[in-house]
């Protein structure tokens, strides 16, 4: 461990001493907007202007500048470049490395596979060994950006915007609200796409390429969150620059890596749904779900609307309109900091039969149980060892059944009553 850290710190110093990335190849950009937003600083706080300034102000600016430079250097040292990804041995190793093979299975699970990441990194079209590389830039970067900031060249045309991996927040996953997605969740998103958004399905890519892309998304997400945490720590909370590689790793990187590693343990595993094998049972469940949907306890209609058309906030005053967390803070004064304009969030129209996170009952259960992180959809279920939610598992299952029946329920004549009446006529 100590040796690995020493060598990692050596790498950091090596990069600091100045080897610039190859000319013309894309770079991960350090993202100023978050830093400025979180630290309440302006760009002028980082550069010496022509105006007269006292020595204190100059020293402050110099310190700011040094910290910003440290962030940029630490990022290259800890993650390499888009053409040449790198990871500390504590974060990831190539799976064909002897060190990887000597690890215990649990320790392997905690680490990224650098071999997969290399397959996805680089420029498209294959490297000297003829191995396919550059998968991320070929398939993903035009929307999600080289850094994974969700602001690639085509992003501005899309609604919703592509996911910004750097926030470390993923909406459609199987885990509790505040947990990271599992590998299987990201893989499912790639394979199935996200209907109702611009994310297409990559089902027909070979499995190893999909797995490489999933690993690369995790890599970019960890890198991006590390960048945010480090910049906010140093510049907004005025922490000192870490003295050693070990300190940097422990304070800023390990907590993120550990949260990714624990995601498997945070998967929402619902109890079996209440039996609804007969049409009568099913209809009773749908009816209960309907009452819950429009009732106070679940409060679905507050956003999804009295017709479940997702239109409750149409034309609402600015303060009542809904936004994703990353759009919420944009306002007239600071809008120039962001690459993408402010975008309102539309609650799902549940009558379309399009489900972004999947249409299986278990998917919808997880949406209701854990909510949708990053947006206003709250967690309805009780988190494992955490906060008590307003809904019991059976109640969630009733709502699932009702939501699944909504695309087939005529707006003017509620489905459940009509179907019950039909059944009675038949008997």
């Amino acid at each position: 461990m100590a040796i690995a850290l020493a060598s990692a710190w050596g790498a950091l110093l090596l990069v600091t001493s100045g080897c610039s990335p190859q000319h013309g190849s894309p770079e991960f950009r350090v993202n100023l907007q978050d830093i400025l937003q979180e630290s309440q600083k302006a760009t002028d706080d980082f550069r010496v202007t022509g105006r007269e300034e006292d020595d204190d102000a100059k020293a402050e600016k110099k310190a700011n500048r040094e910290k910003l430079d440290f962030v940029a250097t630490a990022l290259v040292a800890a993650f390499g470049t888009p053409d040449d990804p790198y990871l500390f041995a504590e974060v990831g190793l190539p799976s064909d490395d002897p060190k990887w093979r000597s690890l215990e299975p649990e320790d392997r699970k905690k680490r990224l596979d650098l071999k997969k990441i290399e397959l996805a990194a680089g420029s498209p079209g294959g490297d000297r060994e003829g191995k396919q590389r550059g998968l991320f830039r070929q398939h993903c970067a035009h929307c999600h950006g080289v850094t994974g900031d969700g602001a690639g060249p085509t992003a501005a045309f899309l609604n919703p915007y592509p996911r910004d991996y750097r926030q470390g927040v993923f909406k459609f996953k199987s885990t509790e609200r505040n947990a990271k997605p599992t590998t299987a969740d990201l893989k499912r998103t790639l394979v199935e796409g996200i209907p109702g958004t611009a994310m297409p399905s990559f089902m027909l890519l070979p499995n190893d390429e999909i797995e490489a892309l999933v690993e690369y998304v995790k890599y970019l997400s960890i890198r991006g969150q590390f960048e945010r945490d480090l910049a906010i720590g140093l510049l907004a909370q005025d922490e000192d620059i870490p003295k050693t590689g070990a300190e940097l790793l422990e304070t800023y990187l390990t907590p993120i890596v550990e949260r990714w590693a624990e995601s498997e343990a945070k998967v929402v595993r619902p109890p079996e749904p209440p039996p609804s094998d007969t049409p009568e049972d099913h209809l009773a469940s749908v009816q209960k779900g309907r009452e819950l949907f429009f009732g106070k306890q679940a409060g679905c209609l507050k956003c999804h609307g009295p017709m479940a058309l997702g239109d409750a906030n149409d034309g609402a005053a600015e303060k009542d309109r809904l936004f994703d967390d990353w759009n919420k803070n944009k306002n007239a004064e600071n809008i120039s900091l962001w690459l993408l304009p402010k975008l309102e969030l539309k609650p799902r129209n549940l009558r379309l039969g399009i489900y972004r996170g999947g249409r299986r009952p278990i998917d919808i259960y997880r949406r209701i149980h854990a909510g949708i992180p990053g947006g206003p959809m709250p967690a309805g279920g009780t988190e494992q060892g955490g906060q008590k939610g307003p809904l019991e598992p059976d109640q969630i299952w009733h709502i699932v059944n009702y939501v699944r029946s909504l695309p087939y329920e005529p707006i003017s004549r509620p489905h459940a009553e009509r179907a019950t009446a039909l059944l009675k006529e038949r008997n």
């Binding site: 392997r108 399905s201 089902m203 595993r269 079996e272 249409r359 299986r360 278990i362 087939y408």
Partner: protein, 261 residues
């Protein structure tokens, strides 16, 4: 030097025809036809290819002959100008016009067979609904009730399966812009138009997996819009549908695999 240029022009028909003689053997030709109606379309293709091929070769050879015969080095006579020949002009206007008219009439039956004469009752029995979207093919199969738009519909994406040796009815839609549903091995190519539901039908005669591509430039991600067609016997197809349907009803998910070793 003068005759060198005429030889160069002679190379055009020779290489042009040579390319077409070489291509089929080298694998650069039409994909194998696995449909029942495809031979009609292939026949029209070959008919037009031969017609234009013969005219092309003849025109090029005549061009060569003029270049060769009236080479400046071996012709010392002054140039003679004419005001053209009325008769010739009439002939070379009427001949192509008549040929085009012939082709227009000759292909009508094939067009009607492929695009208009839906086998009886088939339109009411869709095998699958294909909705093109930037940039994927969303698929919806009717469940056991055989009707689309009911709760037992089976949803899938990009991976189109159809039964072997049966009339397959595809209801083609588009969610956003123009796309084109292209099954090269089945000689099927049909635009998907937003706001329209277009019936496309075919009968596949050989099991296997084939290409499904978008043949209408639909945006920057057009190249991504690649699907896969799998033709399989009815029993296997039904089994596949049942598996999809039960996966779609999942209320539980298996725990992830135990760590290896």
């Amino acid at each position: 030097m003068g005759k060198f240029w005429s030889i160069l022009f002679l190379l055009v028909p020779i290489l042009g025809v040579g390319l077409f003689v070489w291509a089929p053997g080298a694998g650069f030709w039409l994909p194998r036809d696995i449909s029942t109606h495809g031979h009609q379309i292939d026949h029209l293709f070959y008919f037009v290819l031969w017609l234009t091929g013969v005219v092309f070769a003849a025109t090029e050879v005549i061009l060569f002959w003029f270049l060769w015969k009236y080479d400046a080095n071996s012709n010392r006579e002054p140039v003679k100008y004419t005001h053209g020949s009325h008769n010739l002009e009439v002939i070379w206007t009427i001949l192509p016009a008549a040929t085009l008219l012939f082709i227009a009439i000759y292909q009508m039956n094939a067009w009607a067979d492929v695009k208009m004469r839906i086998p009886k009752g088939l339109e009411k029995k869709p095998t699958v609904e294909v909705t093109a979207r930037q940039f994927e093919w969303r698929l919806r199969y009717p469940g056991p009730d055989g009707v689309l738009g009911t709760p037992d519909d089976i949803h899938h994406v990009n991976d189109l399966h159809v039964p072997l040796d049966e009339e397959v009815m595809v209801q083609l839609k588009s969610m956003d812009v123009l796309h084109d549903f292209f099954l090269p091995h089945l000689r099927i190519k049909q635009d998907a138009v937003p706001g329209m539901q277009i019936p496309v039908w075919f009968r596949a005669t050989e099991p296997g997996t084939y290409d499904l591509v978008c043949a209408e430039l639909c945006g920057w991600g057009h190249y991504k819009m690649k699907g896969r067609l799998t033709v399989e016997p009815r029993a296997k197809f039904d089994q596949w549908l049942r598996e999809l349907a039960s996966a779609q009803e999942a209320t539980q998910e298996a725990a992830p695999d135990e760590p290896e070793e």
